[in-house]
Symmetry: C2
Amino acid sequence: MNYNEKSFALGSKRSIIREIFEYSKVRASELGADKVYDFSLGNPSVEPPESVTNAISELIAEFNPTALHGYTSAQGDVQTRKAVADNINKRFNLDLSADNIYMTCGAAASLSICLSAVMNDGDECVVFAPFFTEYRVFVENSGAKLVISTPEYKTLQIDVNDLESKLTSNTKALIMNSPNNPSGVVYTEEKIKQVCELLERKQKEYGHPIYLIADEPYRELVYGDIKVPYLMNYYDNTLVCYSYSKSLSLPGERIGYIAVNPKMLDAKKVYLAVCGAGRSLGYVCAPSLFQKVVARCIDAKVNIDAYKTNRDLLYDNLTAYGFDCVKPDGAFYLFVKSPLKDATAFYEKAKEHEILVVPCDDFGVKGYVRIAYCVDYKRIENSLDGFKALAEEFEL
Amino acid sequence: MNYNEKSFALGSKRSIIREIFEYSKVRASELGADKVYDFSLGNPSVEPPESVTNAISELIAEFNPTALHGYTSAQGDVQTRKAVADNINKRFNLDLSADNIYMTCGAAASLSICLSAVMNDGDECVVFAPFFTEYRVFVENSGAKLVISTPEYKTLQIDVNDLESKLTSNTKALIMNSPNNPSGVVYTEEKIKQVCELLERKQKEYGHPIYLIADEPYRELVYGDIKVPYLMNYYDNTLVCYSYSKSLSLPGERIGYIAVNPKMLDAKKVYLAVCGAGRSLGYVCAPSLFQKVVARCIDAKVNIDAYKTNRDLLYDNLTAYGFDCVKPDGAFYLFVKSPLKDATAFYEKAKEHEILVVPCDDFGVKGYVRIAYCVDYKRIENSLDGFKALAEEFEL
């Protein structure tokens, strides 16, 4: 073989989201950007908090640039790690130290590092449908097999019976993503307790730990009084993967962390496995300037009012037109049941109204499209006639 | 198994450099920092060019923060990639486009992505001793086997006969690092031509490409009139891994690139394999702010006069005392033959004079220590008595 065929396949198979992105650019140049209603990308539309921009300027003024931009230790600057641990402790009544935190280049890095730290060839990792499609890539890169647990379709909550049927003695980890991409659903405390009880029982039965990997880039993006349970408070063998991409609107800067629950079995060894996995994947340290920004902006978060307003406008109108979807409590996605069995066929129909949504057949459930509402309010307003016409076309 | 043992081993085996770093901190707190002569770390001591700090401030002032810190495409911002390609073309008389450049989180990411893009399980990757120890980690993570080619010991140049004896039909790639870490040696054009001729012949013989991976973080750090040949001009199947860690003194910011030679066999497919490898290792995009900084500072480089002055002071004195080492033309390391057969034993002896050097038994040649001279001039001056005493102790 001339090169790595698996890498080539991953690089050449254009994702549907990317395809839509390219189509959208072409169409916008033909019609004008305000005539194309692109809801395909999960790219934050709300500005970073002002404290972020201020922190960058302050750090440049205060620090010697060699120190500011120099290597940190592989696990991250100790002051940043301490700030992260203290913040977790304060909010979730826990007792983490800097040595339970490993700074990363964002959530994708957090996940691939965690998986390489705990999975062995032939292990299985369960994901809850609907799930972010890149999970498959990260799980398979770690040498493990992806297993999909299907949801309760009415609520898109976890179906604990289905989960139990998917667990085997090869199950080594689960990835739980709440608030969920693509559904916006926040898993209830009741469900989480049931899952954790099941996992405790199965760990004993199988005689080895089952790791719960919490993928939490959307934790701060919840609307109303909804609480997102912190998994370390329910289950010892929990690793938390976090990213500031959404909470500080810094997706391009690649800054996040892994928190290893100190109560985990062999917690220190698992932490060292995280360090080793980061090393072997080529991560030297998380970007140093933004490590320091995070430490200074640890309590900041973006103003999510705009996302909530967008959600309400879109959800209220689409359901009034007859579309079927679960009201999302978090993230910035609406997950809508396709009026056609074939979500891609519906995506093509929507395109006729210049509405671009993502058909979600790769997300582990069939017949849904994802609408990312992290866009200008105007874009949603202007798209509503199109959605209404679509509803009429399908006699919803 | 409870977690991944290989990751655990990589995370828990403290590197000697790290051990020295910790010892150095303790010793400095006991004696005062100016009494400990730590030469262990390859951390740039020269400030980034002023244009870098200015570019950050300008970008913050000019850009909407959502755009500045937003995702770029996975391969990187097109303007940055174009700036990189143009810069390569201008300097090395080549014809690359933005589509031959893939922006990365630094040289370690570049290497691990390149290796995952081209290597298959069971392939072999040749490295030239002395070599940067992390190559072993990246090569093994890609599923390949590391093969060491030993140098001509007098010059530490490549021994082409030894290289030929190490090539097999499983050889898929070589990593060439010039200026070299740890020796500071720049491989001559003559050697490079011989290597490339050999590889051309072997490619035909084996019936598959052999990729030459140029690891070039030290390219801009050369002293005097030395030219560092650009490998794409000598060999089509070349990938260049670059980092701005040293040339702009930004090691913590993790910014670099991979350049895929457009003349390579299946160049577009290999580029896609690079994209796929980056995706599976969890790299979403290179840090966005620093991608834009690089585009604006494409012609900048740190003032290397301080490194040259350091080199001269250290080399001239150590050789005058009787130490044996090749004069380094680049990078910021002096690679000194240990007066004791056992480099670690010599390292312990040097410690008695508060001099901290790195014993290099893991670098593929036995009996050497590395002295990183990216430090204050004063530290070198103050260490000279200790080096002199050591030389007398060993009757050099």
